[in-house]
Subunit: 277 residues, 2 copies
């Protein structure tokens, strides 16, 4: 008996939030004011059926919407929308026996217009912080939710097309390029030693040091995003204490959420590739 | 959309381990040497399908064995065997629309010989600390696992009968008396205020103060069990700091596991009765 793909994906959601310190995130030792650890536990539990649907062959957009609807059944608001956006195609790829960069690229590139409408409908379930849409894209603003569906259909956009038009978003960049950061970090997690939540915290710091976080840029500005990346590198270099940075970032509301999403996706790939808990 | 019975039961497992301080248990802030927080996360994820089977009408013994098999798919050993022994009949009662003391009593009293064999087979999946069997019961020692099945069948024992013969065990006492402590504590959890993991920690202290813990008695002796109960009461009375007691009990290996099981069961009932996360 081994864990199913959906079980591994749910466990990745739980291990991600259990990893500590992950500066700025809710983690095993830190809550935000209105977004607490238990909201992530309930979000992971609620997401499971949508993840199982993805493994069972449901279309990516429908499985994603179902996972988000289940995740949203808690009082904290958006806990794991971005994680699920990455996990669903990865689970689909794993279920077809191709959890590789080429395998997940194939899943993403073959998404349909119906998948795009599922993605937009998912925004009905929860408030998600996203950037303003680019010039000429206002009617495709994800925050419009289901109201954007007619425009999506009129333009004939697939979910892949929608992601390709969101190039500044870190999750969308993974989606349209075969998840390079996810697979690279999964390999590092496998190579690491020690308890998996500790490896998750290290993965988070490495990812944050590697690239400014999209969610921090959206919610706190580009300077804050660059600063967070520089200070994550300083943690890796042993120049500052990540525990102190975690306290400070929570205090200031600097929340590298996109980095957490990719950490979760990397944990999922690492679990599928044999990392034991 | 609301959580299913199996989702509530899995969430109860997660909220139980997230509650802190729960003196002597693994909790959000404490690990044991070889039994860590992430083992409980993986145990909860793995138990879900067995809990869903219970909700879908599978026999209690088969659903329990499946839940334990899934729970055991992690490297920490026995994380939630006792929790599942309580959750499975509660989930079954909830699925039939009767999550009451009478409803769960009916579920337990109508268990069969096949349910008893499922219970014994569950011991094949994980090492569980149990007392030596009473005089004349050696061939029914639960630690014999599937080897005890012929004796169970020869004596025509149902799972209820097996529990009735384990009267010193706190979980068995719940099983054979309509879960009085579980339902009483669920009502207190509902009446409490604040985040649910904090309520879980309070529930644990109340339950431990109320009655010596069976698992502590088995693993550390009757004196240690009485001492743990007295000190839990002192925590409730504000005479000692539960955080300090938690550190001390982990250090000394005093682990009130039966009390944690009933805390989990009470959380489940509280979630089913509308406590929000």
């Amino acid at each position: 008996m081994t864990r199913s793909h959906a079980e591994n994906a749910e466990l990745a959601l739980l291990l991600e939030v259990a990893g500590t310190p992950k500066p700025g995130n809710v983690d095993r030792h830190r809550d935000h004011d209105d977004l607490r650890f238990e909201h992530f536990l309930a979000g992971a539990v609620g997401a499971r059926d949508g993840l199982a649907a993805a493994a069972d062959g449901a279309p990516v957009g429908a499985a994603f919407e179902r996972a988000v609807a289940g995740m949203s059944e808690q009082d904290g608001g958006n806990t794991q929308f971005g994680c699920l956006l990455l996990l669903v195609p990865l689970v689909r790829a794993a279920a077809t026996g191709s959890l590789t960069r080429d395998g997940v690229r194939e899943v993403c590139e073959t998404t349909t217009i119906a998948d795009a409408t599922g993605f937009y409908r998912a925004f009905e379930h929860v408030d998600v912080a996203v950037d303003d849409p680019p010039e000429g894209m206002a009617e495709l603003d994800a925050r419009r939710g289901a109201d954007a569906v007619p425009a999506v259909e009129a333009r004939g956009l697939t979910l892949y097309d929608v992601m390709a038009r969101s190039e500044d978003d870190g999750n969308a960049a993974e989606w349209t390029s075969g998840f390079p950061r996810t697979f690279r970090e999964a390999a590092r997690i496998r190579d690491d030693e020690g308890p998996v939540p500790d490896r998750a915290a290290q993965a988070f710091l490495r990812l944050l040091a590697e690239e400014p976080d999209g969610f921090v840029r959206t919610t706190a500005g580009a300077d804050a995003a660059r600063e967070a990346t520089a200070r994550a590198q300083a943690c890796l270099d042993g120049e500052i204490d990540p525990e102190a940075l975690a306290d400070e970032f929570v205090e200031r509301g600097i929340n590298p959420g996109t980095t957490a999403d990719i950490t979760c996706a990397a944990l999922y790939v690492a679990l599928e590739r044999g990392v034991l808990v």
